[in-house]
């Protein structure tokens, strides 16, 4: 077998180069290009001429320089030490790059994705002569205080018996820990090609909600663990802020945050903030469950294309250990644009707006890597994908948004007008939808049997308000009857006191499901009581004078997640203040 193939560069067009003498190289092989040994990948082979996309800045590359293929696909290294890391699109630790080349990234840096010297305390689960096959857990190390990292038999290893397994002790990722009876050695780390999804036993139907702490999402447009969601919105509507919020508070075990073609400072923000944020459930810094992939907008465009795959492959690895993983991809539009740019340089026939015809199939492949699965250990693991979409001009009819909508089942549309009014999260309650409602309903019923009723009632009020506003625009609010103006008032309270959530307010930034239910119950109760009062002849003006309205609007930031009992007291206060009102007017 040949280990490497060498060729020569004959043409350069930005990050796309061609090389001759590559007859024996394979499609999608990873190659070293030129004297700086830049990383590239073969994307087309034509009679010995390979077309290669280069993942690093290839300015000043010369024709005639050498190209070397190692006959293996572009892969990531999977093993303990991934968590708390920040990588570029090719899984190179940015921290190591900074140590090697200073604060500016230089092309051609060679680093190792994981720490080779660090000793991990390995505890075996299996014994000699146990039968193993791909995906089976053989032992574990405590990777961080939050995540126990299971060492598994890598995919595509043939079923065999364990010939020897090391004792509990400290090992590096390159030490052999298991030898199989076919003499194959198993280490704590292994490579996996990024473009191939990792195998699993079978896909399951989704059932649990991914609790995010954001009221508009959890209550109105929920995402299930293993589901897919898209957040589209023009610039300034808060895509990244919403993604950050989700990365912070969603109840997944592991978070993979892919910053794809976005701002450098945003990644820095996450890097600064996450180690300081404490997970309310475990009292550990959130960084201990997070992996970051940063390929900012000024980093090479081809690596932006691959960063999405790198991220999702890392996520699959943790899924296979039986964890619920959430992947935030910010933004998939930049990834699609990278596809477009590379496709243009390959002189492919464009489809819509210059995007290649295979855009929808690539999007589908990516979103299909989400799901709830049975692992080979017969445990459940899941990947939820939340992809931000940046439509040009905020116009949702453009190709990336439209095609994404085909492959996701949860759509959180961001609204420019809400963002302009500083209504955050600026998720529109009219344009958004979720198809996961039936799947997650059971879990909510366990918390409160009223879930569906109050949710429907609130949505009806908000939708009626939209219609009433059309009329108000023609004749003014004063001409409406009291019961309709009550709808306007309640909708206003829903927006101020429920849908808006202040991510800087310590009490309001994250709401547990119980709090979400109670807050909504109180507003709906207010509506019902007012409606009754109006029917009995109380003028709306008198209801509006009630001090309790202002209190309800501020309730989200006055009663914390730990003081749920206070809501019951508040409900009683609400009822008695209406009794007093009724006593006067009836």
């Amino acid at each position: 077998m040949i280990n490497s193939v060498k060729g020569k560069i004959i043409s350069i067009n930005g990050p796309i180069i061609k090389a001759t003498g590559m007859d024996e190289a394979g499609m999608l092989d990873v190659v070293n290009v030129g004297k700086n040994e830049l990383v590239g990948e073969i994307i087309k082979l034509d009679q010995g001429i390979a077309t290669i996309q280069v993942y690093e800045d290839n300015s000043m590359m010369e024709t005639g320089e050498e190209v070397v293929s190692f006959k293996r696909p572009l892969s990531v290294l999977l093993g303990p030490g991934l968590l708390e890391g920040i990588y570029d699109g090719l899984q190179r630790p940015l921290k190591d790059i900074a140590n090697m080349t200073g604060c500016f990234i230089q092309p051609g840096v060679k680093t190792y994705p994981l720490d080779l010297k660090k000793k991990w305390h390995f505890i075996p689960i299996l014994n000699k002569n146990d039968k193993v096959s791909q995906g089976i857990k053989i032992g574990y190390v405590e990777e961080t205080e939050l995540i126990r990292h299971f060492i598994m038999i890598p995919p595509e290893v043939k079923a065999a018996k364990i010939k020897s397994i090391v004792k509990e002790g400290d090992y590096t990722i390159n030490d052999t820990i298991v030898v199989l009876d076919n003499d194959q050695e198993i280490k704590m780390c292994h490579y996996h090609p990024v473009r191939r999804s990792r195998p699993y036993l079978k896909k399951l139907t989704l059932k649990e909600p991914l609790i995010t702490g954001l009221r508009i999402i959890d209550m109105f447009y929920p995402l299930a663990k293993g589901g897919t969601a898209a957040i589209p919105g023009g610039f300034g509507t808060g895509k990244t802020m919403t993604q950050h919020s989700l990365a912070k508070w969603s109840d997944a075990d592991v978070i993979v945050y892919i910053g794809c073609g976005e701002r450098g400072n945003e990644m820095t923000d996450v890097l600064n903030e996450f180690p300081k944020l404490i997970d309310p459930k475990t009292n550990q810094p959130l960084m201990k469950r997070t992996i970051m992939i940063a390929n900012t907008s000024n980093m090479p465009v081809a690596a932006r294309e691959v960063s999405i795959y790198t991220g999702i492959t890392l996520a699959e690895y943790y899924r296979d250990m039986g964890y619920a993983v959430a992947v935030m991809a910010d933004s998939t539009s930049r990834w699609a644009e990278a596809l477009r740019e590379l496709s243009g340089r390959l002189e492919e026939m464009p489809a819509e707006e210059g995007f290649p015809a295979y855009l929808p199939s690539r999007l589908a492949e990516f979103y299909e890597r989400a799901g709830l699965i049975n692992t080979f250990n017969n445990e459940e693991g899941s990947i939820s994908i939340i992809g931000a979409v940046s439509p040009p001009g905020g116009d949702f009819s453009e190709p990336v948004t439209q095609h994404t909508k085909r492959f996701i089942r949860c759509f959180w549309a961001l609204d420019k007008n809400l963002a302009n009014a500083r209504h955050y999260p600026a998720i529109s309650w009219l344009d958004s939808y979720s198809e996961y409602l039936n799947e997650v309903m059971d879990e909510w019923y366990k918390i409160d049997s009223d879930y569906e009723n109050i949710r429907t009632e609130a949505l009806t009020i908000l939708k009626t308000e939209e219609k009433l506003n059309q009329i108000v625009k023609l004749i003014g609010p004063e001409s409406l009857p009291d019961n309709q103006r009550l709808i306007l008032l309640t909708a206003e309270m829903l927006k101020k006191g429920y849908l808006q959530q202040n991510s800087f307010d310590e009490i309001d930034m994250y709401a547990v499901p119980e709090k979400q239910i109670y807050l909504l119950k109180i507003i709906i109760e207010f509506y019902n009581l007012s409606n009754k009062a109006i029917k009995k002849g109380t003028p709306l003006v008198k209801i509006k004078e009630l001090k309790i309205i202002d209190e309800i609007n501020r309730l989200k930031s006055t009663i914390s997640n730990k003081e749920i009992v206070k809501f019951e007291e508040f409900l009683n206060n609400l009822r008695s203040s209406f009794e007093n009102l009724l006593n006067i007017y009836t």
Binding site: N13, C103, F104, G236, L271, T296, P392, G476, D550
Partner: protein, 459 residues
Amino acid sequence: MSRIESVGLVKIEGPLIIMEKTRPVHFDEVIKIFDDRRNEQTGKVLAVDEKHVIAQVFGYTSGLSIKNTNVEFLDTPMKIAVSRDLLGRVFNGLGEPYDGLPQIFSDDYRNINGSSINPYSREYPKDFIQTGISAIDGLTTLIRGQKLPIFSGNGLPHNILAAQIVRQAKLRYSDDKFTIVFAAMGVKHDVAQYFIENFEKSGVLSNVVMYLSLADSPSVERLITPRAALTAAEYLAFDLDMHVLVILTDMTNYCEALREVATSRGEIPSRKGYPGYLYSDLASIYERAGKIKGKNGSITQIPVLSMPNDDITNPIPDLTGYITEGQIVLDRELNQKNIYPPIAGLPSLSRLMKDGIGEGMTREDHREISSQLFSCYSKVKELRALVAIIGEEELTETDKKYLEFGLEFERKFLTQSPNEDRSIEITLDIGWQLLNILPEEELYKINRKFIDKYLKKST
């Protein structure tokens, strides 16, 4: 390596020349083009294939002939010399002296394309810059190390505003002065002159580096101008520890030059004829702002761009908005009402202000008051649309208060003279005065303790 000349071209098309490949060629290397009278022009290799080299000329291709044009390959990417002597100098769009003085004497040459800052090495910008302009300080706060563009239109006072920012920008708790790098792309002579006079007046001229590619220079030259300027800025900021304020005006002209080259190459256009890589290309300019861990200097960018037809969804402002950390949008309607600065409250935004304001940086009530002002003004806009149809009489009392608030907001908060320098405290106090017009229960975004402390005081 010896310099080799290649004689003769295959094709000339717009700013592009195509010649036969007679030797190995570097991608991105600089070339010199000589016509039959040995007049020299600069160019750059865009692509190489088996037989041909495609290059772009940063000048005029008029007069070049197929037979008598010689091309010299320089084996080097585009570089400019940097040293402390940059300060006070004026260069043309390609980074060559334009003020009659000799070349910068230095052996330190920097690639104008720069390299991307490692996100891990970035320091998150937090230092509040007081511009003395209420609409900016109060609502879209500028932070040191930020890239905050001005979205403008023809006939709007973006130059006056940019000049006012340059004159008044200062840090509150330090005496660090700003060094200014000014890059003009395709702007008129008198606009450039306006800025120069402004620098002179405020006595900072010796602290300014200028790159001028004016309206009569070849348009392709503009592709180099911002990069040369930012290379100088990076040197001043990260080698000499200076705080650099970079003004890039007008980015629309830059994008048009990019489109011109792309069209000549026959590339597949995406929106409005702009190339698909416009986003990445703009990012390679804007992302050169920021702060770096362990270095004292910083680069703050204020790009100015005119929105064609005042359309914010045009690809240039649209893609810029996706890269920069907010935007200051100028509004024609406000300008027609004679309000200066005509900063449109609602679409303007500063993404970095969240960490740069509040107690210890500006004032504890800053965040909530700005958020409240935004949502009140947004309500005013809604009401005005309503009033246009049903008249003011039909409104509720509270709504009428809102309209009054709207007028006062534009008259007292937004409006100020181009020479007026307001401290952040004054700006915030004006904000409280305005909120006082409204009933207290409307101020739901503000914490009760601030209402008690500030609202009562301002009555």
